[in-house]
């Protein structure tokens, strides 16, 4: 069979071509695994589901690194009593969110921009998935390190705010590294300011006065992301 030929070319054994293509179609295409199939059903879009499983910060290497960091924090907590997991989890999640999307980390960014599946939907799906995974891993590590319930769950809101800052910076500047830097810096400032004011590292997680600022930060971050990912209308 010659190459570069279309299926409708004259003089070809059309039946053989069709048979071969059907065989090839069955052999070459990968069967989606469980998570991708589930995602496809939930999202009602196989394209979005495939985009989700190719998220850089949902790749196995990244997940392993996240688990290692949180596990180290859990072990250190058991050894010293300092609750490292609630302090680390927001930073790790912010980095994961910043690395979920963008030209800095997606090699086929240019191509993706021309696709029918909107990149804003891809961003939303990826960000939510990364957030959910980090929340689950963080909760597991918190529970394993035996810290109090207030700390075990208390970092979810700060994590949301840190992720919002990271994602907003990443989408606005189109750089995942700037997103990581912004998220990390914001979280470090809050933790250290809390320690300066109260002498406790965990003040950033437990202080009731910070609930409203975290919520506002998360909302503002979301608004910035929506603005940065808006598709400019055409001129006609």
């Amino acid at each position: 069979m010659s190459e570069w030929a279309g299926p409708g070319d004259p003089g070809r054994e059309v039946d053989l071509d069709r048979v071969w293509l059907n065989v090839a179609a069955g052999v070459w295409c990968r069967q989606p695994r469980g998570p991708e199939r589930l995602a496809g059903q939930v999202l009602r879009s196989p394209g979005l589901a495939r985009a989700l499983v190719t998220t850089p910060s949902l790749l196995l290497g990244w997940i392993i690194a996240t688990v290692v960091v949180l596990l180290t924090g859990a072990v250190a907590t058991l050894g010293t009593g300092t609750p490292y997991v609630p302090l680390l989890a927001p930073a790790v999640a912010a980095a994961g969110i910043a690395y979920a999307y963008g030209p800095g980390i997606d090699p086929a960014w240019e191509l993706s921009q021309s696709m029918a599946v909107s990149d804003r939907m891809v961003l939303l799906v990826r960000a939510l998935a990364v957030f959910a995974l980090n929340a689950l891993l963080g909760l597991a590590a918190s529970a394993a390190s035996g810290i109090a319930a207030a700390l075990t769950f208390g970092w979810l809101l700060p994590m949301t705010a840190a992720c919002a800052v990271a994602l907003a910076a990443a989408t606005l500047t189109r750089s995942a590294n700037i997103g990581v830097g912004a998220g990390l810096a914001a979280w470090i400032i809050v933790v250290l300011a809390g320690r300066a004011a109260t002498g406790q590292f965990t003040a950033a997680i437990t202080a009731p006065a910070l609930v409203l600022p975290y919520l506002i930060t998360a909302l503002c971050g979301g608004a910035i992301v929506l603005f940065a990912t808006r598709i400019p209308r055409g001129t006609s």
Partner: protein, 254 residues
Amino acid sequence: MNVELTDLTRRFGRTQAVAGVSLTGGPGVFGLLGPNGAGKTSLLRMMATVLPPTSGRMRLLGRDPGGYGPRREIRRRLGYLPQNLGYYPGFTVAEFVEYFALLKDMPASQVPRAVATAVERVGLGDRARAKLRTLSGGMLRRAGIAQAIVNEPELLLLDEPTAGLDPEQRLEFRALLRNMGQRATVIVSTHLVEDVGAACTEVALMDMGKIVFHGTPADLIARGEGTSAAGDAPLERGYSAVLAAARSAVAARA
């Protein structure tokens, strides 16, 4: 008409990459020639709806890409090969083409056969399950072409598609272009004048953001006859003559 551009411009800061381009086109193969920095890639990116124009009107496949819904429809029927093709090294050829078939909202049931067809058409059937990181530059380019044609697009935009292809593969690629051009509007941006001559029914020459020539390859050849323009082939001489004339007109105006 699949493509209708009216006074399209694109500015990057103080640089005007595309300066008032007007073009219409229906089914067929349309060549876009020009020196480096002429604005070909920017024009193609605007038509691929990756870059919004600064001003002007654009209608693609009878739709205005300014709206979310029409743009999505255009993208479902669009095939695009960018100049710098990024890829995922861990994907196989088939997975790569399939990924973009899904992102083009192709019905899932049609995707496997469409992928197989596209991969065979670009001659990568024997490397369909090879990881992209193991492919040569030319094979990667062919994988990029495969993802562009997987959805049988009505508008196919190819930026430097023959980069890295050997002469035999370029011959086969021209045959593919002619085949695609029977049903779709194919716009090929290239430096290689002979590709345009062999496959294209219409040619436009860009320089400094403007279209300085629009016609058939024969018209371009005619522009070079009787001149002392540089070039080893008639098309090359026509190309050089048109560019020289355009630049001296600009210099005279300045």
